[in-house]
Amino acid sequence: MRSFTYERARLPGEAASAASRIEGAKFIAGGTNLLDLMKLEIETPTHLIDVNGLALDKIETTPEGGLRIGALVRNTDLAADPRVRRDYGLLSRALLAGASGQLRNKATTAGNLLQRTRCPYFYDTNQPCNKRRPGSGCAAIGGFSRQHAILGASEACIATHPSDMAVALRALDATVETVRPDGSVQSVPIAELYRLPGDTPQIETTLVPGELITAVKLPKPIGGTHIYHKVRDRASYAFALVSVGAIVAPDGTGRVALGGVAHKPWRVEAAEAEMPRGANAVTEQLLAGAKPTDENAFKLPLVERTLSAVFAQARV
C-alpha cells in the first residue's frame, strides 16, 4: 500500500471541500472496498478523509412518508430496520444477498453505491484495463468474460456494477443527496447516478470530483410483493451472475431492475409495461440490444428464467 495522510472530517461540506482541494484525496467510510484496492495499489490515494464522524448514520421518516437513509448507515442496520423490512422488503433482501455478515457490519450505504467493479482484469494489475489505466485496453474483451456485461457495454469496457443494493434502489426510485465542494446540495435520481462505460470507463458516476453522498431518499412505499432473486456460483457470499429485483402488484403490474448484466443497475420502463404478459415479453424489452460474448451468452436465457421464477413467486 502507498503511504497517505489521514484526517477525520467534522462536517460534510468541509469534507467535500477538502476532497476537491487536496490532490489525490479520497473519502473513506467502511473501507471494505477501498482498502482492498489500496493493498493492490489499484487505488492510490495520497490523503484519506475519514467521514465516519459526520453523523450521517440515521434513518429518518420524510414528510412525504418515505425514508431518508444517512450515507453512513451500515448495510446490516439498513437491512434490519423495521420500516425497511416492512415497506421496502426488496432493499432488505438485496442487502442480505450481498457480501458477508462481517462486511455488511462495516459497509455503508454510500460506499455500497460507489464500490468498484469486481472484473478480474480490473483487479489484475498485470493486465490492461481502461478503467484502471485509461487507454491501456480491455483484457476482458476476448478474455474470460463469463461474469461480464451483456448490456450497455462498449469497446473500452465490459465490466458490471457489483452492487445488489443499487439494483433495489433503482427499482425503488431512490434519490441520492450530495454536497459539492462549493457547499451546494444536490439531489440526483439514482437513474442518473451511474454512467455507462463509453470511452471513459474510469468515470463511473455523474458526481463531480469531491462531491460527497450524504443520504439516499426513498419515496413513500408503493406496496406490492418485493422479491430479490440473485443467481450466483455459490449459495452465499458471491457476486451475481444475474439478479432480478422486482416489485409486483396484485394485478401483475410492477417494476423490475436487473443486476450483473451492465455497468449499472438495468431498468427499462417499457419492459415493465409488459409485466402482465409474463417473463418472455418483459425479457424481450429488457434485453433489447444485448451484445453478449460467447462466454456470457448464457445470461440471456438466465434473465428470462430468473424473471419467470420471480413472477411465479409473486403469484403464490
Binding site: S3, Y6, T32, L35, K39, A79, Q102, L103, S236
Partner: protein, 169 residues
C-alpha cells in the same frame, strides 16, 4: 505516524502507527495478540474476524487509526485455555476444526452471529423478514459464509454453534 487509543479485551491501549497499519496488523504485530489470524488479507476468508463495539468485522479491511475510542474483543478476550468461552468449548467438543488456522475467526464470528440472531437481524436464509430469526442450520450456514475453512470442518462448526445456541444438533 499517527497516535490512536482503543481498548482491547478490556485493556486500554495507545499506539503510534503508520496510517497504513490495518487493525489486524496492529493487533498482531504491535500488540502481539497473535490469536487473530491473517489469511487472505482481503476480507474474503474471515480468519481475521474480531468483534468491535459488539459487531464482528474483518480486521484486515479497516485501518487502526479509524478505531479511536473503540472497544474490541479478540479470541484472547473471549477465553483462555484454563477458562474457555462456551463457544470455544463447543468447538473442542464437536471437533470444529482440523488445522485450526481459521478457528479464532470462526469462533469470534459465531459468538457475534448468535448475538445478531438474538437482536432479530434477518439474513438471506430468513423466510420471513419480519419474524424473529432462529438459529437453524440454514441460518447458521448462511450467516457463517464469510468464514472459510480450508479443512472443511463446516458440519462440525455448525454442530458447535447449534449447541451453544441451545438447540439440538
Amino acid at each position: 505516524m499517527s497516535k490512536v487509543s482503543f481498548s482491547v479485551n478490556g485493556e486500554a491501549r495507545v499506539l503510534e502507527v503508520d496510517t497504513r497499519t490495518t487493525l489486524l496488523d496492529a493487533l498482531r504485530e504491535h500488540l502481539h495478540l497473535t490469536g487473530t489470524k491473517k489469511g487472505c488479507d482481503h476480507g474474503q476468508c474471515g480468519a481475521c474476524t474480531v468483534i468491535v463495539d459488539g459487531r464482528r468485522i474483518n480486521s484486515c479491511l479497516t485501518l487502526a487509526v479509524m478505531h479511536e475510542g473503540d472497544s474490541m474483543t479478540t479470541i484472547e478476550g473471549l477465553g483462555l485455555p484454563q477458562s474457555l468461552h462456551p463457544m470455544q468449548a463447543a468447538f473442542v467438543k464437536h471437533d470444529g476444526y482440523q488445522c485450526g488456522y481459521c478457528t479464532p475467526g470462526q469462533i469470534c464470528s459465531a459468538v457475534a452471529v448468535l448475538d445478531e440472531i438474538k437482536a432479530g437481524i434477518p439474513s438471506h436464509a430468513s423466510a420471513d423478514l419480519n419474524a424473529l430469526p432462529q438459529a437453524t442450520t440454514a441460518e447458521l450456514r448462511e450467516r457463517m459464509s464469510g468464514n472459510i475453512c480450508r479443512c472443511g470442518a463446516y458440519s462440525n462448526i455448525v454442530d458447535a454453534i447449534t449447541e451453544v445456541a441451545g438447540r439440538k444438533a
